[in-house]
């Protein structure tokens, strides 16, 4: 047996012992506190196995090879383990930003804390700055040893549970719009920070508004140079996308596809060649998506718009698959009114999964923005008017 095969077996055994078989039932209809508590417990379980942050450098507690990460995500998906939803921004976006642009002191302060359960959210978008993120108007003006933040952020996932926030704010209102933005680490307990959940189309309240009224951010919580926040955000967000997608592709391939086949079987549709044709098409596309993610993580396809290619393809495939799930389950599929918290985007409750799929085609750059990035940066087409 190869080392990798042994590793796969060890992950499989661990999953058999540690994934609670009834977690979906327990996480259905749960309160926000019940969700957060469960997420912290599961994160700690993964941490004691050494798998909470496999993609981090070894010195900070990660250090798995790409092949090992792929096996880990594949086995977690195959075992239908809970997803890390609460820590998603912390272990991916916050860590990538700290590792790429943070000072040694900022890394020492936050990376171990994230391993201990520190929760992060992202304060980027605003009511007037969605696709045109660089037009953001929240300000953070220097006042002695601190910056004073005022403004409003929107679509901050998990902000109601967050300890810290990755904040983009304008520090030089007179500069051209991309040159006057700075990147901050904001303590959510700071006076003047107010969080209000926004109920989304599925009925969940994961997204939040963040209101900032004179919130004082110590200058040492600036990350990267002052007024270079736009560049820091561009560098770090593209770089980490491959890693998050590697896991999402595995989830779509295992639980997502398996449930879709199961739904077809339960509906007696597996002898309908139109249905099996669609299923085989999805399976093929998922395999292609996995290949894209692997190439991106391994750095073998270094196209300038790779992150956009993967995000666009994943989100639209998710949308088509979940839509098909709705048609397969028909009216009876509409009787499940809530999907379990802590699950992936494809929970098998197809109408809610389908509606929830817009959470992938809109945030993080809409599909339209991704296509424009692919055309202009990936193919070198002239900028549009």
């Amino acid at each position: 047996m190869t080392d990798l095969e042994e590793y796969r077996q060890s992950v499989r055994r661990w999953c058999a012992d540690h994934v609670p078989p009834d977690w979906r039932a327990r996480q259905t209809g749960v309160t926000g506190a019940g969700f957060a508590q469960f997420q912290q417990w599961w994160f700690a379980e993964l941490r004691s196995a050494g798998w909470a942050v496999p993609h981090w450098p070894a010195e900070w507690g990660g250090g798995l090879s790409v092949a090992e990460q792929e096996i880990l995500y594949s086995e977690l998906a195959a075992a239908d383990a809970p997803r890390l939803v609460l820590q998603f921004v912390a272990i991916h976006h916050a860590a990538a930003t700290l590792l790429a642009a943070g000072t040694p002191e900022q890394r020492r302060r936050h990376l171990p804390a994230i391993l201990d359960g520190e929760v992060w959210c992202q304060g980027f978008s605003e009511p007037g700055a969605g696709s045109d993120l660089a037009s953001l108007r929240t300000t953070a003006l220097r006042d002695g040893g601190a910056y004073i933040a005022d403004g409003q952020k929107l679509w901050a996932s998990g902000a109601a549970h967050a300890d810290w926030c990755l904040l983009l704010a304008r520090t030089d209102p007179a500069a051209p719009k991309r040159k006057g933005i700075s990147y901050f680490l904001l303590d959510m307990k700071t006076p003047g920070v107010d969080v209000r959940p926004v109920r989304n189309a599925v009925g969940e309240s994961h997204f939040c508004e963040i209101f900032l009224a004179g919130a004082r951010i110590p200058a040492e919580n600036l990350i990267g140079p002052e007024n270079a926040g736009w560049q820091v955000a561009q560098q770090t967000l593209g770089a980490e996308r491959g890693l998050t997608m590697l896991e999402l592709a595995e989830r779509l391939g295992h639980a997502g596809f398996r449930w879709l086949v199961a739904s077809c079987r339960e509906a007696g549709l597996l002898d309908d060649s139109r249905v099996t044709d669609t299923l085989a098409g999805f399976e093929t596309e998922i395999e292609g998506l996995r290949g894209l993610c692997r190439s991106q993580v391994a750095g073998t396809s270094a196209g300038p718009a790779d992150a956009s290619v993967v995000k666009l393809y994943y989100s639209e495939l998710l949308q088509r698959m979940t839509d098909f799930g709705v048609t397969v389950t028909g009216v009876p599929g509409f009787t499940a009114l809530a999907k379990p918290a802590s699950s992936g985007w494809e929970s098998g409750i197809w109408p809610l999964d389908f509606i929830g799929s817009w959470e992938w085609t809109i945030p993080g750059g809409t599909s339209e923005i991704q296509r424009t990035i692919i055309a202009e940066r990936g193919l070198g087409l002239p900028r549009g008017a």
């Binding site: 044709d277 085989a280 395999e287 292609g288 996995r290 894209l292 290619v309 424009t372 055309a375 087409l381």
Partner: protein, 327 residues
Amino acid sequence: MTVTGAEAAEVREELRDVARSLLAGDPAPSAKRLASAGWTGLEVPEELGGAGVTFAETAVICEELGRAAAVSSFLGAAVLGAGTLLELSPSAARDDLLAAVAAGDATPVAVLPGEAGFVPSAASATHLLVVEPGGVTVAVPGDAGVSVEALPVIDETSRLARVSVSGASGGPVLPFAGDPSAVIGRLRDRAAVAVACDSLGAAEAMLETTVAYVKTREQFGRAVGSFQAVQHACADMLVALRVSRELVSAAVTAVAGGAPDAWVRAAMAKSHACAAAVDVAGQAMQLHGGIGYTWESGVHVYLKRALLNRSLFGSPAGHRQRLATRY
């Protein structure tokens, strides 16, 4: 030849560069030219005058032939003919033919079961390798009972022929080295993946030429490639090709390595890449506007090649039905 993964990748890139420039100068290379470039003998053992490499190298040539919309006997003779010979138990007859393939002196073409109606490169073949469950019968065009009828098709870059071999050809039946049904399955996978490579190359050429065109073609006072509708159509072409490339690479690796699940990878690559190539070539025609619909532009050559490829060696729906037997 034993090489590491990185070296092999480097060798393939060199092969690709050489192939691209050769085909740019001669998009209809003769069998002799293919042989002198070393392509027909890629998988032929070194002691028989070949390079002794794998299907992964053959696949590079298939892709470049598609990119150039080239006319050649490569698919019939090198990919399938030599590929079939390599599945036979070693014998003097087999080795002589393989050596002749590498030298460009013979162009034996495989006739797979059920595929005799449309055999690539058969009209110019020196030998017909009739694949049957019991082994391969070698027939020679012109002999009694052997008929080869060239079939002009809408894709003018392809060379198909209808083959009929009736009665005993006189030649001995050469046995397969392995289980016959597995061998025939491998040959079908090889054919499907070779065609998928061809379609991928053709589609990439279409995306490149389209991008170049929309960057320079001006309407309403600006390059049409600056219009969002055009940009997004090009982005969709790129995404479809990125996915195709991943699927095709996985299938090539699986076929080259004789992986047990190679048929799954082959079915995925064939169904996706060949369908995507039709979409991409169709969009290329659309985005070139009126000029793209002219005979002169040549876009139709690629669209027709992609269309024929989609149907050759199993339609997308046929391959997906095979995949679905696993559900």
